[in-house]
């Protein structure tokens, strides 16, 4: 059998029949091609930019932007710099994404559970919602909400008045302004204190239940503390917070906080669209929990609601969280569709207006892409941490 033995490894040949040699060769080839491509593109871009007089520096960052933005969460006006405009865009993107994620998750869980309801009509309505919303492009839905629902609302003069000083018109939803007087901080402090009390009570209730099996009325006590304590402080401090209703002056409202239709359309569109995807994730997650789990819970005498909340959903979450993460990421990326309806998000302000004004395409695009990559990465990390928290403890 000695004639079948492999040739001595000492004789190293540099032939292309050796897998290792071939591997190195292929990688060198790929690296060479990529390098050539990058060099070619880089040199061509540099020369093209020189010819067209496009700046290749970040000097524009500190220059005055000269355009106004109607919805900002941080101070900004037409005299601010391009850098400040960039931050307005980032904050607006994060703001609308955050709210839409909350709403979409809520909607998705409700619809997902409704799809599995034993009630025939409830499950059919939920199915119809999912099948309708998932199969229509998000852009069409956004345009529909913006152009066909929110824009045809009456003008400010003929606003729809909602009790409580709230007005709805084609410039948005106008709600009363909150005025803070001295002593308002006390109310805020009272609220924080009430929250900490509730958390402490919840921990105590849990340990009492673990020791004795007795359940304390957590929900009732929490609600009473959360509403009662700040209310008492509010009255004691002489009502330091007041609401000022918006007033119609001329063609528009004065005072009050305005919820712009662009923002509302984007928020509704993103929540409804992503909610339908989350509903499917929740449904398949719940279906993946063995039926024996809920049957055992019923056998122990748990009510259907409690079974769902305490037995089924915690197990389903393990299956739900990874695809849920990718839906959140999709939502954040989809918030860039704001540019179509004029909500000033990162893409609209920075990759749109700033790029057009400065012409610095390479820098602006690189910064925009990096921001989205950082947001995606941060969301993935947060959700992975969440996933670890819920993951099964392997023995």
């Amino acid at each position: 059998m000695s004639d079948l033995s492999l040739p001595a490894p000492s004789r190293r040949s540099l032939s292309l029949h050796d897998t290792k040699v071939r591997g190195v060769f292929y990688q060198l080839l790929l690296a060479g091609c990529l390098l050539a491509l990058a060099l070619g593109i880089g040199m061509q871009t540099a020369s093209n930019m020189r010819v067209r007089g496009i700046p290749l520096s970040l000097d524009f960052w500190g220059e005055a932007a000269g355009f106004d933005i109607n919805q900002t969460l941080i101070p900004y006006d037409a005299l601010s710099t391009y850098g400040q405009a960039f931050w307005v865009g980032v904050v607006n993107t994060l703001y609308v994404s955050f709210l839409a994620i909350l709403l979409a998750t809520l909607l998705g869980f409700v619809i997902g559970v409704a799809r599995l309801s034993p009630n025939w009509i409830v499950s059919k309505v939920a199915t119809a919602y999912v099948e309708l919303v998932r199969n229509v492009p998000l852009l069409l839905q956004l345009l529909f909400w913006y152009n066909a629902v929110l824009k045809p609302l009456p003008s400010p003069k003929a606003s729809i008045a909602i009790p409580g000083g709230i007005y709805l018109n084609n410039r948005g939803l106008i709600i009363p302004e909150i005025h803070l007087h001295p002593g308002a901080g006390l109310v805020g402090l009272a609220f924080v204190a009430a929250i900490s009390c509730c958390v402490a009570f919840w921990f105590r209730a849990r340990s009492v239940q673990r020791r004795t099996g007795k359940q304390l009325p957590v929900l009732l006590v929490s609600l009473a503390t959360l509403i009662g304590f700040p209310l008492v402080v509010f009255l004691a401090a002489g009502e330091p917070v007041s609401f000022v209703a918006p007033q119609l002056r001329g063609f528009n409202f004065q005072g009050g906080h305005q919820l712009y239709p662009e923002f509302a359309a984007l928020l509704i569109g993103l929540s409804v669209y992503t909610g339908s995807y989350i509903a499917e994730i929740v449904r398949s997650g719940i279906q993946a929990v063995p039926k024996g789990q809920s049957e055992a819970a019923y056998a122990l005498g748990l009510a259907p609601g409690k079974t769902l909340r305490l037995v089924v959903v915690p197990q389903a979450l393990r299956i739900i969280i990874p695809p849920l993460t990718s839906q959140y990421l999709n939502l954040i990326k989809n918030s860039s569709l704001a540019v179509f309806i004029g909500y000033p998000d990162l893409v609209q302000i920075f990759a749109g207006t700033v790029l057009n004004q400065t012409g610095a395409a390479v820098q602006v695009m690189a910064i925009t892409l990096s921001v989205y990559l950082v947001i995606s990465l941060a969301t993935s990390l947060a959700m992975n941490a969440c996933n670890r928290h819920f993951a099964i403890v392997e023995r």
Binding site: Q27, Q44, M49, P118, N135, L143, K333, F340, A361, Y372
Partner: protein
């Protein structure tokens, strides 16, 4: 056994007549409703609320789309009716929504190209059809060339060249999605193989590409293609304004396709690779003949889902000035000569129906394929 034949006083000699089945067991509408609609008081309340909601929505929809809609007549009858859809508007704009400004005398070329695509796709996707591999080869290799020749035109074949600025409507939407799938699938397969490769540099390049592209919004990729591609190449090579988003869509969807294919590759048992290696089959033959055919079959449903996403994403090309179907609807609905109270809603309803029809059809196919594959695995 004579003692048993004697009648004992406690045993009845007559047969007991069969009892009626217990109530609630026999299927019937009342039982069904009791079980599925009114099992508990709260369930009953929900039922009533949801029936009211469904009736309200359906009634509004039907009265807008059918009963109160304007079916014939012109602009004035639409303007007079603020309650229902204006279908004559769609009828007049229909050709514009399909072809954009493509010359009327040459539109048969678009029809022919679309019909060819439809035939090849049905041939390839219908699992009982013979020689599906031929269909796949034709679709991925021959069809792009044929469609290019037909739709754009080649002068020496007596087909006048139609400038891409004239293209529009559904033609663009279909073009974008077909180009997307034709290029993204092969590139996606290569990227997926690269990502699972043992060569560290190849793997790093593929992972970087896939993760970066998947981490950014499609709009920014389109922006990049539109603004930066002309900077990347010498002036005489500047891509056509329609070609730039096409390249963007192909690269963008190939990253998503790569992840789908990777899932398929991971699902193939390791023994398949090992057996192929043991037989001394080379890497490329192994992938071509053993691994990929199995992996791609498993992921057909996911490929179709990704394609649905791609189809919906084609609406975003409007941002770089391409008049796709949705953009055509937007242009048509703001036409001042048709200004009317329900023109916008009608336009959106029609666009929604078209997109919904395509996407729902595809998702149904993907689901049936999934069931078929699941059956195949059980047997």
């Amino acid at each position: 056994m004579s003692d048993q034949s004697m009648h004992s006083p406690v045993v009845s000699s007559a047969l007991i007549p069969a009892m009626a089945p217990p109530a609630d067991v026999w299927p019937g509408p009342v039982t069904w409703m009791k079980k599925n609609l009114f099992s508990t008081p709260s369930s009953g309340a929900l039922t009533i609320c949801f029936i009211l909601l469904a009736v309200w929505l359906l009634q509004h929809f039907l009265s807008f789309a059918i009963f109160n809609a304007v079916w014939s007549g012109g602009r004035d009858s639409c303007r007079a009716n603020g309650e229902g859809a204006c279908w004559p508007f769609i009828a007049e704009k229909f050709d514009y929504l399909r072809y954009g400004a493509y010359p009327v005398s040459e539109r048969w070329r678009v029809d022919l190209a679309e019909a060819l695509a439809a035939i090849l796709i049905v041939w390839f996707l219908w699992t009982k059809a013979p020689r599906r591999k031929v269909a796949a080869l034709l679709f991925f290799l021959v069809y792009p060339v044929a469609a290019f020749v037909l739709v754009r035109g080649v002068a020496f074949l007596n087909l006048p060249v139609i400038d891409t600025t004239l293209w529009g409507g559904l033609l663009i939407t279909l073009l974008m999605s077909i180009v997307g799938i034709v290029f993204s699938l092969p590139i996606g397969v290569i990227l997926a193989l690269g990502r699972r490769s043992e060569l560290p540099f190849v793997k790093a390049v593929c992972v970087t590409f896939i993760e970066v592209v998947r981490g950014v919004p499609f709009i920014t990729v389109l922006f990049m293609a539109n603004f930066m591609m002309p900077l990347f190449v010498p002036d005489y090579l500047t891509p056509d304004r329609l070609l730039r988003p096409l390249i963007a869509i192909a690269l963008f969807s190939s990253a998503y396709m790569a992840e789908v294919v990777r899932a398929g590759l991971q699902a193939i048992p390791k023994s398949q690779y090992e057996a192929a290696n043991a037989l001394g089959i080379s890497y490329f033959s192994m992938m071509r003949l053993i691994v990929l055919p199995q992996a791609l079959t498993i992921v057909i449903p996911s490929i179709v889902s990704t394609f649905i996403g791609l189809f919906k994403d084609t609406t975003l090309v409007a941002i770089v000035g391409i008049a796709d179907f949705l953009r055509a609807v937007e242009t048509a609905r703001v036409d001042p000569s048709w200004a009317g109270p329900t023109i916008s809603s009608t336009g959106y309803l029609f666009a929604g129906l078209v997109y919904w029809g395509f996407c729902f059809g595809m998702s149904r196919y993907s689901q049936s394929m999934e069931r078929q594959l699941a059956r195949g695995h059980k047997s």
